[in-house]
């Protein structure tokens, strides 16, 4: 009995092995047949594009997501069999792990520079992208980030640095104009946490509201460690604002909205991206329901249908966050190389600057600093403990989220 089982198992293994053996050599003759035909007449050119983002650590999933976006663009370009300088272009993606660490970021940036990449997509974090951008700038290599939102990145005067995502300081005006247009408050209170980020975004909100002829109460301030907001909120309750904006992070924003609701404040609470997370519900409980907040860019599910289908097909998962942006970033590099008919950074850089491109995240063109013109900011609300997109602000205009999805589907 045992022997028969053994024999059966052996024969099964043999069949399986044979199956493998059969499958593997099959494509070979084809490749062989093709190989002698292709190489000699048109010489090929290898174009290296670098991607850097965290592939290990707490946000490794976001880094992988970014990398997938760039990889998809590269694969599509290879399938399209582009010709550059009259040669067959073969695009390669060099993938580096910057561990979301500024020090590691400059190390991998140097590695990419030494590998003589023709362009770079990345990095993910602003804090890592800014020091790395100096190295790419020295080497004259064009770099496009799909996710770094800190304004500083493009304020360094580097001609080769671009981003396809919105800036933090576009968020303030966006959430303020959404508030003004949709909620029509007469009186707004603005609070910040006295950090560069919080004060910056609060100033932008105040400016936009004042320009829209909405009265703003004198600024109230906490710190980035404040836990007790009751004194400030009680004072504000006496002034009866219709909306309250807080420039700060979720760690302080959560207690703020919780205490506000406990005091019976009816105003709409609104926040920037620092407090635009699901953690707000964890911190504030049901009090977080109905808050408004903004994030730079658009949610991935709002990217073009074509991109979403291709991504899903290739990686078997849905894009998480910034993949449509890195996809566009890689495509922009390729498009500029096509236009300039050269992969030489100094030759295609001018083309990149004046490019007008229709990508997965909508039409893209750059201003003088390398920021995306009319970048989108998405407005979210808290519903059932999760933040949900409700509108997209673009070039000062507000679109309902559904309406925006339709325009993207069309493009």
């Amino acid at each position: 009995m045992q022997r028969t089982w053994l024999a059966l198992a052996l024969s099964a293994t043999a069949v399986a092995l044979a199956g493998c053996g059969e499958q593997a050599p099959a494509p070979k003759p084809e490749a062989k047949a093709e190989a002698p035909k292709a190489p000699p007449p048109p010489p090929s050119i290898e174009i290296k594009i670098g991607h850097a983002g965290p592939l290990t650590g707490g946000i490794a999933h976001l880094g992988k997501d970014n990398e997938n976006g760039a990889q998809l663009a590269i694969d599509e370009a290879n399938e399209a069999k582009l010709k550059i300088e009259g040669k067959d272009a073969k695009f390669v993606l060099l993938k580096e792990d910057d561990q979301a660490d500024p020090k590691q970021g400059t190390t991998v940036a140097q590695k990419l520079v030494d590998a003589k990449v023709n362009g770079v997509v990345g990095h993910l974090n602003s804090g890592v992208t800014i020091p790395a951008s100096a190295l790419y700038n020295q080497a004259g290599i064009p770099m496009i980030s799909g996710s770094a939102t800190n304004p500083k990145l493009t304020e360094q005067g580097f001609k080769n640095v671009f981003r396809v995502v919105g800036r933090d300081d576009q968020q303030g005006p966006a959430i303020a104009s959404y508030l003004a247009a949709e909620r029509k408050p007469k009186l707004v209170a603005v609070i910040d946490d006295a950090t560069a980020y919080g004060e910056g975004i609060a100033n932008e909100v105040e400016k936009t509201l004042t320009a829209a002829k909405i009265k703003v109460l004198p600024r109230e301030k906490g710190t980035d460690k404040t836990t007790d907001w009751k004194a400030i909120l009680t004072k504000l309750r006496g002034r009866k604002p219709d909306a309250i904006f807080y420039g700060g992070m979720d760690a302080t924003g959560g207690p703020l909205i919780k205490q506000g609701k406990e005091l019976g404040i009816k105003a709409v609470f609104s926040f920037g991206d620092g407090a635009c997370t699901d953690k707000m519900t964890e911190l504030a409980g049901p009090a977080a329901e109905g808050l408004l907040c903004s994030q730079a860019g658009i949610p991935p599910q709002a990217a073009s249908r074509k991109f979403l289908d291709a991504y899903k097909k290739k990686f078997n998962v849905a894009p998480i966050l910034y993949a449509p942006f890195t996809y566009d970033a890689a495509n922009l590099l390729i498009e500029a190389m096509k236009k300039a008919n050269s992969a030489e950074p100094s030759k295609y850089l001018p083309e990149l600057q004046k490019l007008s491109f229709s990508g997965a995240t909508g039409p893209i063109s750059f201003d003088d600093r390398g920021d995306r013109k009319d970048a989108e900011i998405t407005i979210f609300t808290m519903k059932g403990g999760k933040i949900e997109p409700i509108a997209v602000v673009k070039g000062g205009k507000t679109f309902g989220y559904e309406e925006f999805l339709k325009t993207m589907g069309g493009g």
């Binding site: 906490g222 836990t227 007790d228 004194a231 400030i232």
Partner: protein, 328 residues
């Protein structure tokens, strides 16, 4: 008026928590003239232990109140153990050393406890599970939640219990005797080591409860939360007269109210545009209902320490303390 009333309600809630923490400072000081600067960290440990227990039990389907009580039930013995070990390891060996030495070990213990908490609970801000539903009641225009009412009630009960313990029991008598003169108390047959250890353990139990109250009130806990809370409670103890138990209670509540009113009104009071003649000097900023605020609400945390300085300068023995100068 309802704004003023609301600020007082906020202040009393926070002040009640300060008072319970201040009791720990004042009891220890009263008995061995040591400022136990690690006391704030005991509060933090209490909040953290309760956080872990509550988070673990929250999905179990037990009634929310039972979960919170269980969290507190775990936090109290842990903090008592911390309080006892602290006294045994860091203070008892130094009881005859110059007074600066135990002060330094207190700071050392405080750093050790903070970093232990950092290793166990990470540096993130932890969100207390929001299982107790908050209901807001309005009394004369001021909002007060069921959680606030519970905090005030619990703190009053704790203070009453402690007063009964100190003034009505044998242990309390022994504590008061040791506070007056440890040598003589020892000669009368009191085991002063036990009495001192008991003082630390009782203070730590109060701190544990305060930590849970603070955590559930604000909904957050972090490994650094003990230091500022501890310093404010210390200020409250000094305000009431350090070493004096009713003084700590009074000081805590007063400090909470001062803080709330201070943060609520400093912006208005320091708005230069309210003062006619200054506003006239700087008409541009103040024109059209403008404001020029010198000190805004971000100075909220300053009040506790301003009070501390004023008390030390003007009345070092505090509100209820006797004028002994030397001791304070």
């Amino acid at each position: 008026m309802d704004v003023f009333l609301q600020q007082v309600v906020n202040g009393v809630t926070l002040g009640a928590v300060y008072a319970v923490v201040a009791l720990g400072y004042t009891m220890v000081y009263g008995i061995i003239q040591l400022i136990n600067f690690a006391h704030g960290e005991v509060v933090m440990i209490g909040a953290m232990v309760a956080f872990s227990v509550i988070s673990a039990l929250a999905p179990s389907g037990l009634p929310p109140l039972a979960v919170v009580l269980l969290g507190t039930g775990f936090a109290i013995p842990v903090c008592m153990l911390v309080g006892y070990s602290m006294e045994r390891l860091a203070y008892r060996p130094l009881r005859r050393a110059p007074r600066l030495a135990p002060l330094i070990t207190a700071i050392g213990i405080s750093i050790i406890l903070q970093h232990l908490a950092l290793m166990i609970w990470s540096r993130n801000i932890l969100a207390f599970p929001q299982i107790l539903g908050t209901t807001t009641y309005f009394v004369g225009g001021a909002a007060i939640t069921n959680v606030q009412i519970a905090i005030i009630a619990i703190c009053v009960a704790l203070m009453g219990g402690l007063a009964a313990l100190v003034y009505r029991t044998r242990l309390g008598t022994a504590m008061r005797a040791t506070a007056q003169n440890p040598q003589v108390a020892g000669l009368m047959g009191i085991d002063i080591n036990r009495v001192i250890a008991a003082t630390f353990v009782i203070g730590a139990a109060l701190a544990a409860v305060a930590g849970v109250l603070y955590g559930t009130y604000y909904g957050i806990a972090q490994y650094t939360m003990g230091s500022v809370l501890g310093l404010k409670a210390f200020s409250a103890a000094v305000l009431g007269g350090i070493g004096n138990i009713p003084g700590a209670m009074l000081g805590g509540v007063l400090l909470g109210v001062v803080e709330a009113l201070g943060a609520g009104y400093i912006g208005d009071v320091s708005d230069l545009c309210r003062y006619g003649w200054i506003a006239a000097l700087m008409d541009v900023r103040c024109a059209d209902g403008g404001h020029f605020i010198l000190f805004g609400s971000e100075y909220q945390d300053v009040f506790a320490f301003l009070v501390l300085i004023l008390v030390l300068v003007l009345r070092p023995s505090g509100l209820l303390g006797e004028r002994v100068g030397e001791r304070a």
